[in-house]
Amino acid sequence: MSEIKSIGIPTPEEIKQAQIDFAPRCTSAGRVNDKETQGMVEHILNFARKHSLFVVAYGTGCGAIEIPATMTSRYDAERFGIRGAATPRQADVMLITGYLSTKTLKRVIRVYEQMQDPKYVIAFGSCAINGGMYFDSYNTINALDRYLPVDVYISGCMPRPESVIKGFVKLQELIKNGNAGNGEAYRSDLDWYRKNQQKVIKNWDFPDNYNW
């Protein structure tokens, strides 16, 4: 038992505690935009949102290499209105393309917070879902949605461009139904997210107020 612990596998108690602590909390509190409630105007706007996705590709891991392939001639994501954005201010979608070290997480959070509502997160690969092959690494986070609200996960290691496009299409679907865009949720559950973030980020120096 002690040997196992020494390589970092949590004890059942710890897992239990962690399940309580890190349970994803994507509440629907911020969802002003449900399919049932959305009006005509919102419907049209969602149509525009869905067809115009400006992407800030945070090339964290090996998935970064898939993005060029997705964007260029062969797979041509632009036909879905997907297009790169230079800065988070202009972007709608953030792509987390692979494992996230804790050091990078800090930057990712910063970028996410600088994006404007409604904003979406797509996480690539198993590393972003559950840590993947880095599940027991000392400096890599395991589940992204403990730190940021994720809209779409794309499985695979790594997902091929087809899967990526599929992921985007899924996101478009969610947008159309008003189920995507967890900025409001992030704001309302900020305390919880902050607690988790602060747990892994040692040198925490963010400003106190969250200013979108």
């Binding site: 525009a48 632009e78 297009r83 202009q90």
Partner: protein, 320 residues
């Protein structure tokens, strides 16, 4: 009273036309580029969707008053210049304030937007923005020189500084200025490459290098408004070139709506063809550094500009 009503209505009509055409041309450009790269590309109306999405952003940030004002400046510049550009020759609806301002005014007014945008970008405090502005202003000095030379050539050849009078002249003689003074057209055309800021002169807002430069801190409604302004400006530049060199549009004998419609079609064809020049050049060229861009503008375009003046003086009878 009725005249004022028509004027106001015409102004709105002009604005809508410019907006729609500008946006569509932007979409077309994306489509053309995609096709050239063997892609399907976005739909032509993609820019409208983008704009709508940007305006539909729920939250917006600005870095201060000048940041808030920056898109306003662009809209002011775009709309003001638009009102002074003749869209269709002799058409009541699109006449606006055509006779009330001349080329020098237009030249300066067109800078107004860039300057306002530069101020807004400056306030964001992002060093990338400041760098972009620095490059943009430097490049401005580059391409304004040949453009101004071309304009002077036109002014002295036809003894007017008014764009409307130049159009009248072309209609009266039935000869386009591109024939009368081809060098001026070449100089102005080369200058227009810089004016559109497509490759190879797109270092100002290079996304990978400067994080889109001056616009890097603008999002949501601000970016959307800027896009609108940019689209209108694209239209303005094209119409201006068509007016100056390609005889303008609307020189038909048809009365009423038909004439207007024909004129518009003519305008669209001419502007589209003109627009494709910078687009295609942009497709196949890499990026100039700022000083290379400036030096480029100060070499061949300026040479053609001076040639244009000499030509104008020759045609005018002042020399030769």
């Amino acid at each position: 009273m009725e005249g004022i009503f028509i004027k106001i209505l015409g102004a709105f009509l002009t604005a809508i036309l410019a907006f729609v055409v500008g946006m569509l041309y932007g979409g077309l450009r994306r489509k053309v580029i995609a096709r050239a790269q063997n892609r399907v590309g976005p739909p032509i109306h993609q820019n409208f969707l983008d704009l709508m999405k940007l305006q539909a952003k729920r939250t917006n940030i600005a870095h201060g008053f000048m940041g808030h004002m920056a898109p306003v400046w662009i809209i002011i510049a775009a709309m003001t210049v638009l009102m002074f550009i003749p869209i269709l020759h002799g058409n009541l609806w699109f006449e606006n304030l055509t006779m009330k301002g001349d080329l020098i005014f237009l030249l300066y007014m067109m800078v107004f937007g860039s300057l306002g945008m530069a101020l807004g970008a400056g306030q964001s405090g992002n060093p990338n923005s400041a760098m972009g502005v620095s490059r943009g202003l430097a490049q401005l000095v580059g391409f304004e020189i040949p453009f101004f030379l071309a304009l002077i050539a036109l002014m002295i050849q036809f003894n007017t500084t008014s764009i409307a009078v130049l159009m009248d002249h072309q209609e009266a003689t039935g000869r386009w200025i591109i024939v009368d003074n081809p060098f001026a057209f070449i100089a102005a055309l080369l200058a227009s490459l810089g004016m559109f800021r497509y490759a190879p002169f797109d270092i100002v807002g290079a996304p990978a290098e400067l994080a889109s430069g001056p616009r890097s801190e603008f999002g949501g409604k601000y970016l959307g408004t800027m896009m609108t302004g940019g689209a209108v400006f694209a239209f303005i530049k094209l119409v201006m070139y068509v007016d100056l060199f390609l005889g303008g549009a609307g020189n038909n004998n048809l009365e009423g709506l038909a004439g207007t419609a024909l004129g518009l079609v003519e305008l669209l064809v001419k502007t589209f063809l003109l627009y494709m020049i910078p687009v295609f050049i942009g497709l196949v060229t890499p990026r100039f550094r700022t000083e290379q861009a400036i030096q480029f503008f100060w070499k061949w375009p300026t040479f053609f500009g001076i040639l244009a003046i000499v030509w104008a003086l020759y045609k005018n009878g002042t020399i030769g």
